[in-house]
């Protein structure tokens, strides 16, 4: 348990500190940073690095890929893999995490596996997954599933373990059964942890996806970049990178929004 605690690194603590609403000034600074970045990029492309496409070239390429539908197809293929793997992983992780946190027996039985697989980067599973599961959709989804499962399970477990004992006692003295305590105290109290775990899980799922698609895929953002690499098509690689970044950011923001909605009862310091 101590080891898991160290690995879990109290997810609530990470989100506990959140600044006030971002000021106009901060947004303006962000914009300035983006403009400067684009300028440097243009400069490097025009005078510096050989073969590096400038922002305009990349934008043109993006337009092309959008127009012929490639970008949409690839994005949907990638998103589908991530969402299926992520949802399955999270759906399994939450009950397993609760079991581990609530029953010492379940913890004892499951912890060695969770511990062990956590130390293996999900990408390292890819060769095994391909050999065992073939080169279709299954191994890719499986690896994503594993990545999101492992990060969610640990934070859910941690959330259950960290539920304030006095809250459980307060429910018990009011006559709550174990079942009620679980549903009405443990579940809500660990929600912040679960949501943080989901965010970490989604991040690691997204990261795993691209690598999974670099190997044996027919469509997807990772596959498209791999193809482009064969033809020295740097613009397409850039479009792929930007698409991955933007989608990752969007999904993260969405979860963050959900998290704030669901856990706005938390005292933040």
């Amino acid at each position: 348990m101590t080891q898991l605690t160290a690995l879990g690194k109290s997810p609530a603590a990470r989100t506990a500190r959140r600044g006030p609403r971002r000021s106009r000034r901060a947004i303006a600074l962000n914009l300035v940073a983006v403009v400067i970045g684009l300028a440097v990029w243009t400069l490097l492309a025009t005078i510096g690095v050989q073969g590096l496409p400038g922002p305009l070239e990349v934008a043109a390429k993006a337009g092309e890929l959008i127009a012929d539908g490639t970008l949409l197809t690839d994005t949907l293929a990638s998103l589908r893999r991530v969402l299926i793997g992520f949802l399955l992983g999270t759906l399994l992780a939450i009950p397993v995490g609760f079991l581990m946190g609530w029953y010492a027996t379940a913890r004892g039985l499951l912890e060695p596996y969770v511990q062990f697989f956590r130390t293996i980067p999900p990408l390292a599973i890819i060769p095994l997954a391909i050999v065992l599961l073939g080169i279709g959709e299954v191994p890719k989804v499986f690896v994503i599933f594993l990545a999101s499962f492992l990060s969610s399970v640990v934070s859910t477990f941690q959330g259950v373990v960290d539920v304030d004992r006095t809250l459980i006692n307060a429910a018990r003295v009011l006559g709550a059964s174990d079942r009620t305590i679980f549903l009405k105290v443990v579940v809500p109290a660990s929600t912040p942890f679960i949501l943080v775990g989901m965010r970490v899980g989604l991040g690691s799922a997204w990261g795993t996806l691209v690598a999974a698609e670099l190997i044996a895929a027919q469509e997807g953002l990772g596959f498209r970049m791999q193809q482009a690499q064969l033809y020295y098509d740097l613009s397409t690689i850039f479009v792929g990178l930007i698409a991955i970044g933007v989608l990752g950011l969007l999904m993260d923001r969405l979860l963050l929004l959900a998290e704030r909605r669901l856990t706005n009862w938390q005292e933040r310091r």
Binding site: N169, A170, A171, R172, V173, L174, T263, Q266
Partner: protein, 259 residues
């Protein structure tokens, strides 16, 4: 005899790195049905531990804790507890917190709302019924915890420094309210406090404890009639008892070294 709560030769030890730590050392105490006792003593003398045993949250290492003559098997809604650390559910509004115990009693919604409303009214939180605990001050949180315990109307109230975070005025108001409801509904109350005045004002008996090891030091009777009044606080008799309690708490003989 009809003790509501009785502690029989209760010992509580906690294992330490080396040996054990004795939190309570052979405590025997009977609290009569419908009695109001207060418990005072230096920090760490085992007041909360004693109360938690009556609540059924902590088991004695040896000895027995009986409620209505039967050994305490666990917590139950017949004994309401107000915790030193408020223990409000932070995701529930004040009203939902207060309704928590009422929901478990499967009361009809209307009755539930009525009783919760009355308890919230009693502690003066009516304007904050829909507020989340994070928006309340320490004293308001404490009042919410009090309302939550009052709402289920338990036979026994176990209160762990319930008025500790309150301002002087609210504190006096809630003391009088507590005495009112206690005399009307004839509950048994075990009330921990650090405030000697409060201990004397509320109780029929003040239990003074000593630390290291935690044990009973002295039991002081308060021979003042109920209802207690503001004038009584200024009476010589009140002053005499307060001095006695004060002396017992703050001028304790050095502890016998633990065996």
């Amino acid at each position: 005899m009809n003790a509501k709560i009785s502690f029989r030769d209760v010992v509580k030890t906690y294992p330490m790195k080396e040996g054990t730590f004795t939190a309570l050392d052979h405590v025997s105490l009977d609290i009569a049905d419908r009695e109001f006792v207060t418990v005072v003593g230096p920090s760490g003398c085992g007041k909360s531990t004693l109360l938690s045993m009556a609540a059924g949250l902590v088991e004695p290492t040896s000895g027995a804790v009986l409620v209505d003559g039967a050994p305490v098997g666990g917590p139950g809604p017949d004994r309401g507890v107000i915790f030193q650390q408020y223990a409000l559910f932070p995701w529930l509004s004040v009203r939902k917190n207060v309704e928590f115990g009422l929901r478990l009693m499967n009361l009809p919604a209307e009755e539930r709302r009525r009783r919760a409303g009355r308890a919230i009214e009693l502690v003066g939180l009516a304007d904050f019924a829909d507020a989340l605990p994070k928006t309340l001050s320490g004293g308001m949180k404490q009042r919410c915890a009090i309302a939550r315990a009052y709402a289920v109307d338990p036979q026994v109230l176990l209160m762990d420094e319930p008025f500790g975070a309150l301002d002087a005025l609210t504190r006096v108001q809630l003391q009088d309210q507590l005495l009112d409801t206690w005399s009307q509904e004839q509950r048994t109350v075990m009330f921990i406090t650090h405030d000697v005045d409060e201990a004397v004002y509320l109780a029929r008996r003040v239990i003074v404890m000593a630390a290291r090891p935690g044990r009973l030091h002295k039991v002081i009777d308060v021979d003042l009639p109920y209802p207690r009044t503001e004038e009584m606080r200024l009476s010589p008799e009140f002053g005499r008892i307060r001095n006695e309690v004060w002396h017992a708490v703050y001028h304790q003989a050095p502890a016998v070294p633990a065996a």
